[in-house]
Point group: C2
Chain length 585, copies 2
């Protein structure tokens, strides 16, 4: 059987920054060539970044992507890398689609191409377009209608893009019909908790259906709400895992494969789902037999659940800060667990020397709110200062009469305004500390604690906030480091400290119960009756659902934050603001 | 030819408030019956409101809609209205669709039904699903595959829903194939500038294609970003207009039609686009000949462009305030034209007695900023007060060092915080005064002048702000009323007054030029080269585009506001926040 050394480049890209993305492709193609690869691949829409959203509808952007692709092919050849075939995702447009209402303007395609010897030798577009969850691809793309097969060193390699594997039919059976010896799928598959297990089973199933080895190349990094966790996988035609890349780790996965030689009677024409086989022969001669190297990411260990989520939050935040051109972050430190966890994540993402914390006590702040914040700073080494909001509070209450909720919210907004003033003055990006539980029920102040460009834990329930804080401290202990989060921040009862003696449980159910109800209502779309049937008190459920239904406007105004669950408070959850529906009516 | 009196109920509905929507249907069905109608129709998704967005994926909501439909049929009969067939839009689910990845969970349908004698006698779902602009219907619905035809008093009436008319094929040719004598399309078609002309031509064209009279029933009112302008239309098979309802006016359009009798050989089976004819016969006997009444909205005059846009802004704001359960609004009054126009719109929407204005001068505020605001209050009769932000400003600058932009933004944020404090204390909804030009280029302060639950003019360019202010004053003069907006607010050079002597043109091109460039870049998706080719200075265009590209994060945090253009800053414009693309690179 012919051999082939495959270089799966599990790397990041930045939406819109085509020049930097092209540089990355050149860098990693050189690396792949130096490692002796015979075929190199890059993720879905590598050249433009993913997801491009409305940029797909902008003609100048589509043209920039097309030109960049041709230029990249030329540049690779100029730099002596033209002999190595490269599969790379980009944004194209269909020349065949007829413009009509209902199709996206300009007929954009989520495309990939094969580059070889200075030329773009093959182009194709994603066939199955996802339009659920975080995906809106019917809005942006027209589907591809070919089954690309490229012959490399005597092996027929079929190609596919992401959703082509997730939905039934299309390119998986077409790969079998085309008699290919290898199927490469390039992906930008967003992270969700436990998705790695689902993905592995999917890849194994599709390999068996395609009847050949399947290489699943994943993207890594973060783009706005989305995190890409890597986890590239290669499985044999029997579904056995050949190689698996580490999670959250950028790099080139090298794998040596023994693959069937291309069939002399290779099929042509239209096969499954109307896909027309589009063949290109780059090289017929098999590689001289060689000694396989160990697969680069071969048996990479899976992270446990807490570590995986924590790493996702770190990767997401780091990407957001860098891609927005910031070097430092600013956090209001209340001494509570939310801001402490956000600070710990931030120190891991951008380094403690680039993290600025501010304690902003009011007359209702407890002594421990100040000492716990200072202790956090001491443990992590972040930059710390304290600014009282009492003079600002007195200035407002001296001018207008404020009581109750108005007085409580004022304190939170004075802190938001102070953070933004320091951000403007010193150039840090502000992080919002809100967690998913309080955002869900609206237990937060708009323009107050919601202030920030990014909410690192906005998709993390409070129960998970506790777990992640304990995990991070435990991990530090295991490495012989100082645990970053003060024990008192974890142990004390959560409080907003906006009036004397206030604790969260004055307004909310206990967090374990609240979070369990929220998970059913928000993440799993269950109704009141189903949740009650699951064993929760009807009154408590009704009260919780009423709070969630009423909080939509606040959530809309929240900053983005790393999405880790099936229904984060991000782009995959869309409700009308003036929503008269009350689940418990 | 048989006669038929049609009642097209051009009314509003509220997303989620199924009980109130059902009450409306009963109310207007009674009115239709009292007017002697033989068939009554209600808009698309009348029972649930439109658009329901993610509520479509919530099983309990779908079931609530289905139950409400059956209950409505029973209630109409109980109240003596069962003999009048009623066409009403609602949310259903397909019993036939097989669950699979890529289809919305629960297979929801954008459906409509015919109610008669206490029963739901016919159900069907929208066939063409729009997924562009403000629409995401591939995300939420599965398409219908029948061509419904209901026989009423001897006339075959084909039915369709909104997009079924906009896209080619499907129910328009199927209506002809089915030999129907009338096609009724029920709609929730969002307003855009000049869309009425497009809609009229479409309806005329489709009537000719269908080969029969076409009744196009539109929704009226507002839901979040969307405004529904009414403009129901009835045209003959030759494309001639029979009746046209007034814009922005709720009511029942009655029209008497002479229609062909149902064919004895009425076709059955599958016709165009795979649609299967689904016939129900309610009554064969034609109506006794009667004297037609004048068509209710017959030749309603079209509004001119300024009046149309102004009315859209009023209707949108009124709906947002009411549907969110507020009775009064709060506006920061700077003496400038933006807040003055917002105040005028608010007075027209909810009455001057429910409008609260606050002047919030700082040390940089000019004398005219106070006097112009007070003059606006005097002219309109809104509630007015003045609160200086100087003590709050001094409290901040006494605690932390702030210069330049940080000091400018602080003033704006102090005002935002003051407005929110008064809102919390007194229960008004805050309106944000930002216009589309300044939002586009980021000439605004996040958590400052962007504070508010709704931005009435966020989709109005500054040039149009001037036009609308002049229009509103002129309209007042024509009615012998006091023009609401002080002439000085219109005439003086726009300024943020955040530093001494500041005017907008320090930072921005002149508004007529800026707005012309923005219209090409934002609304029409043109690129740098196309805009330069249209006659604009390259440097100015590059600078403008750079500002727009950099302002995406601010725009995302803005409140909703009435959408009046093809690309408003609302749900129809979606860009990645960490967007590295720079059009002028």
């Amino acid at each position: 059987m012919p051999q082939l050394r495959l270089a799966l480049n599990q790397i990041d890209s930045h939406v819109g920054d085509i020049a930097a993305n092209a540089d990355s492709v050149v860098h990693w193609t050189r690396h792949s060539a130096e490692q002796g690869a015979h075929l190199a691949a890059f993720p879905e829409m590598m050249l433009t970044g993913y997801p491009v959203e409305d940029l797909a509808l902008r003609g100048s952007f589509v043209e920039a992507s097309r030109s960049a692709l041709s230029a990249l092919a030329g540049r690779l050849a100029d730099e002596g890398l033209g002999e190595l075939p490269v599969v790379v995702g980009y944004l194209d447009r269909s020349e065949r689609a007829t413009p009509r209402l209902g199709l996206p303007a300009g007929s954009p395609e989520n495309a990939a191409a094969v580059l070889h010897r200075g030329e773009v030798v093959l182009r194709f577009a994603k066939h199955h377009l996802p339009n659920y969850g975080v995906f809106d691809e019917f809005r942006y793309f027209v589907p591809g209608d070919t089954q690309p097969v490229v012959r490399v060193r005597g092996v027929d390699v079929a190609l596919a893009i992401c959703e082509d594997l997730w939905q039934e039919g299309g390119r998986v059976p077409a790969t079998r019909s085309a008699g290919a010896g290898l199927l490469i799928s390039v992906n930008a598959s967003p992270y969700e908790r436990n998705k790695d297990d689902v993905r592995l089973e999917l890849v194994r199933k599709r390999a068996r259906e395609a009847g050949c080895t399947l290489a699943y190349l994943a993207m890594i990094g973060g783009q706005d709400d989305l995190v890409f966790d890597g986890d590239s996988i290669v499985v044999g035609a029997d579904g056995e895992v050949i190689a698996r890349a580490p999670q959250f780790s950028e790099g080139c996965v090298l794998v040596d494969l023994d693959l069937p030689a291309a069939r002399p009677d290779a099929p042509e024409g239209v096969v499954d789902d109307g896909l027309r086989i589009d063949r290109v022969v780059l090289s017929e001669e098999p590689v001289e037999p060689y000694e396989p190297v160990a697969a680069g990411g071969g048996g990479a260990e899976r992270l446990d659940d807490d570590e995986e989520v924590y790493d996702a939050l770190v990767v997401g935040l780091r990407a957001y800060v860098r891609k927005n051109g910031f070097r430092s972050v600013l956090i209001g430190l209340s001494g509570g667990i939310d801001s402490a966890l956000v600070a710990a994540i931030a120190c891991d993402a951008v380094g403690a020397q680039n993290v600025y914390g501010v304690s902003m006590p009011s007359k209702y702040s407890s002594e421990h709110s100040r000492t716990d914040a200072a202790e956090l700073a001491r443990r992590t080494g972040l930059n710390f200062r304290s600014v009282s909001i009492e003079p600002m509070f007195d200035a407002y209450t001296g001018s207008v009469t404020l009581t109750g909720l108005a007085e409580e919210n004022l304190q939170s907004r004075l802190r938001g305004t102070l953070l933004m003033a320091l951000s403007n003055q010193e150039g840090h990006i502000v992080l919002a500390p809100g967690n998913k539980s309080e955002l869900a029920v609206g237990y937060s102040t708009l323009y107050g604690d919601s202030v920030g460009a990014y909410g690192p834990i906005k998709d993390v329930y409070k129960s998970d906030v506790f777990r992640l804080a304990r995990y991070r401290n435990r991990a530090a202990e295991e490495r012989g480091e100082t645990p970053p989060i003060p024990e008192n921040s974890i142990a004390k009862p959560p409080s907003a400290e906006l009036r004397p003696g206030q604790v969260d449980t004055d307004s909310l159910p206990d967090y374990p119960v609240l979070d369990a109800v929220l998970a059913l209502y928000v993440d799993r779309d269950q109704g009141l009756e189903e949740i009650v049937a699951a064993g929760f008190d009807r009154g408590l459920v009704a009260r919780t659902l009423r709070m969630v239904d009423a909080a939509e406007y606040k959530r809309r105004q929240y900053p983005p934050g790393t999405k880790i669950s099936a229904k984060g408070f991000g782009k995959d959850r869309r409700l009308p603001v003036t929503n008269g529906w009350r689940e418990q009516a």
